[in-house]
């Protein structure tokens, strides 16, 4: 992360826009069923390892790659587009 990126990040946190974007993303992921899909993935992993006590780190390591791949392109595109436009308008001010 460059100095510029850090500043942009800090600004997003300060204005609350980072939280707003996160909320938008969270909503989109719930709407499109991603959240439920990931929940099912987690259940499967827990079931497979029923004998040994599975930890969060193990679960995250197993599920994250598949969960990332399941994020629909439309959601990624929308977020990217909105963040980009937002940062550009901020820059002008």
């Amino acid at each position: 992360m460059t100095v510029n990126n850090t500043i942009a990040h800090q600004r997003l946190v300060l204005t609350g826009d980072r939280e707003r974007f996160k909320e938008l993303l969270r909503r989109r992921l719930i709407e499109c069923g991603w959240r439920d899909q990931v929940r099912m993935l987690c259940r499967d992993v827990v079931k497979e390892n029923e004998s040994n006590n599975i930890t969060f780190d193990m679960l995250a390591a197993r599920v994250t790659p598949r969960a990332r791949a399941l994020v629909p392109d439309t959601v990624k595109k929308e977020l990217l587009q909105k963040i980009k436009t937002h940062l550009l308008t901020q820059k002008d001010q």
Binding site: L14, R20, L24, E31, G33, T55, T85, T89
Partner: protein
């Protein structure tokens, strides 16, 4: 998973209380104020490597910030500070148990902070998953029978016997049964009736009908009780001849709306603004704004009327969007239709524009395919295409105003809360001629899963088939439902 934390966290709480967690959470997880956001923006960097991630944590013992890529673990080991808080979600990691642990008291603190944060940012209340209360949890443990909903399930689908030209009723019933929010209401047994068991309440009858549809039985149902109830309460529909499905739909909503008054608690109550708050009005009622502008003084007179559906002319436009565009276009009322302007105190020529002030959760469109005039009764078979997903924003009063003053629709995240997207979930079709016709319905049973309901016959259909059908009544459901803030 249990929410009693672990022995290490309980010891920590006994020694230092919940304050350390409260402070870390309010400032660095869910910022409850602008000041908190300033702290988070400037100081939420790994003390070891200076990066803002990945997965920042804060030591609960000494508020040391570090990333999960090894630095928080290093700090924990060298200082023997075993508890640290994840700054994205607020979960607590116990290095002695080697996993995240959950504590009811701290979880509740987190939830209150999340609500405060949403308020401070002006965004709607974040999604909270349903958790059974003690009674519900007990009921779930007692009733072991579960019904698994697989992608190919046919649950919720049942044919309806034709009782002699009652296909108009059958297709409206199929539509109502497959209205997502109405289904949730009835399967949640939300209608608690004062007139229970009297056999006179249509809402109770529909409630029973939902149980029949979702019982898992496959034989077609006979709706004689329902038909009789509607005949009793909407006399103009009584008789054995074919009726108009649209008229039946509106009459059914009206009887349901009136019978909701039988309900105990929330059903009969009115909101402060005097508007009915029954489930029918909550789902189907929108507000239609009519602006009449005087051409000489440019004074505007605005009225807002409730509506349950929108009737659209089909001659001319080839798509639903075009029909709506024409419906909401400013129309010049000529010299033959002068209206008294309250400003000029005289009859003036004016323009009139209809826009949607508030949108209902279910948007119902009636394509006016039947033309009744003194000379001729005819059916208009004009092709009108309609989409599976519809954005209603362009037809809203607020949007039209913004267009008028030339404001550009910016992409700022503040605007994300206004979401006016709708998804098609039912289409009623009329086939045949005016006097010897037949009604069928397409209903969406689950996302992407469509069925054709032709009285007692239910067959699988493709979305293409639905979209290629002629369309008489089109039903759209709001894609995303907002959560209402309880204390607002």
């Amino acid at each position: 998973m249990n929410d009693n934390g672990c022995i290490h966290l309980n010891n920590f709480k006994a020694a230092k209380g919940t304050n350390p967690y409260k402070i870390v959470h309010a400032f660095f997880v869910a910022c409850t104020s602008f000041e908190a956001r300033r702290y988070k923006a400037t100081s939420c960097l790994c003390f070891t490597c200076g990066m803002p991630g990945p997965r920042m944590h804060s030591c609960l013992h000494c508020i040391y910030f570090a990333c999960y890529a090894g630095h928080i673990q290093d700090h924990s080991k060298t200082k023997k500070h075993f508890l640290y808080v994840d700054l994205s979600y607020g979960n607590i990691y116990c290095a002695q148990c080697q996993d995240y642990i959950y504590d009811r008291e701290l979880t509740e603190i987190g939830v209150t902070h999340k609500l405060k944060e949403a308020k401070s940012l002006g965004i709607s209340v974040p999604f909270m998953p349903w958790l059974p209360n003690p009674n519900e949890a007990m009921a779930l443990r007692r009733l072991r029978k579960r019904r698994l909903i697989s992608p190919h399930t046919t649950i919720g689908l049942r044919g309806l016997q034709n009782l002699g030209s009652t296909c108009f009723m059958n297709c409206i019933v199929q539509t109502l049964i497959h209205t997502p929010l109405l289904r949730d209401y009835f399967l949640g047994e939300k209608h608690k009736c004062k007139a229970q068991g009297s056999g006179k309440c249509l809402v109770c009858e529909v409630s029973k009908l939902f149980q029949e549809f979702y019982s898992g039985a496959k034989t077609p149902l006979t709706l004689h009780r329902l038909l009789h109830l509607i005949w009793t309460h909407a006399r103009h529909l009584a008789g054995y001849e074919q009726q108009d499905a649209h008229e039946f739909f509106i009459a059914t909503l009206d009887v349901l709306h009136r019978h909701c008054m039988n309900g105990v608690d929330e059903n009969g109550e009115k909101k402060e603004n005097g508007r009915c708050n029954c489930i029918i009005d909550q789902i189907f009622t929108g507000g239609l704004q009519s602006d009449v502008v005087c051409t000489s003084c440019h004074g505007v007179s605005t009225t807002i009327d409730p509506f349950w559906d929108i009737s659209l002319d089909v001659a001319g436009p080839g798509s639903l969007a075009a029909c709506l565009e024409r419906f909401t276009r400013a129309e010049h009322l000529g010299s033959g239709a002068k209206i008294k302007c309250s400003n000029c105190r005289a009859y003036r020529e004016s323009t009139k524009q209809l826009t949607l002030e508030t949108l209902p959760i279910v948007a119902s469109f009636h394509l006016k395919r039947f033309e009744h005039s003194s000379q001729i009764d005819r059916k208009i078979n004009a092709f009108v295409s309609f989409p599976a997903e519809l954005d209603m924003t362009p037809f809203m009063s607020s949007h039209r105003r913004a267009v008028d003053v030339g404001a550009d629709n910016n992409n700022a995240p503040e605007g994300v809360c206004e979401d006016n997207r709708y998804s098609l979930f039912a289409v009623v079709n009329h086939v045949g001629s005016l006097d010897a016709g037949h009604y069928t319905a397409y209903v969406r049973q689950m996302k992407g899963s469509w069925f054709k309901c032709d009285d007692h016959m239910i067959t699988r259909a493709s979305l293409r088939e639905v979209l290629d059908s002629e369309g008489y009544l089109l039903f759209y459901h709001k894609t995303v439902l907002e959560y209402e803030c309880e204390n607002s």
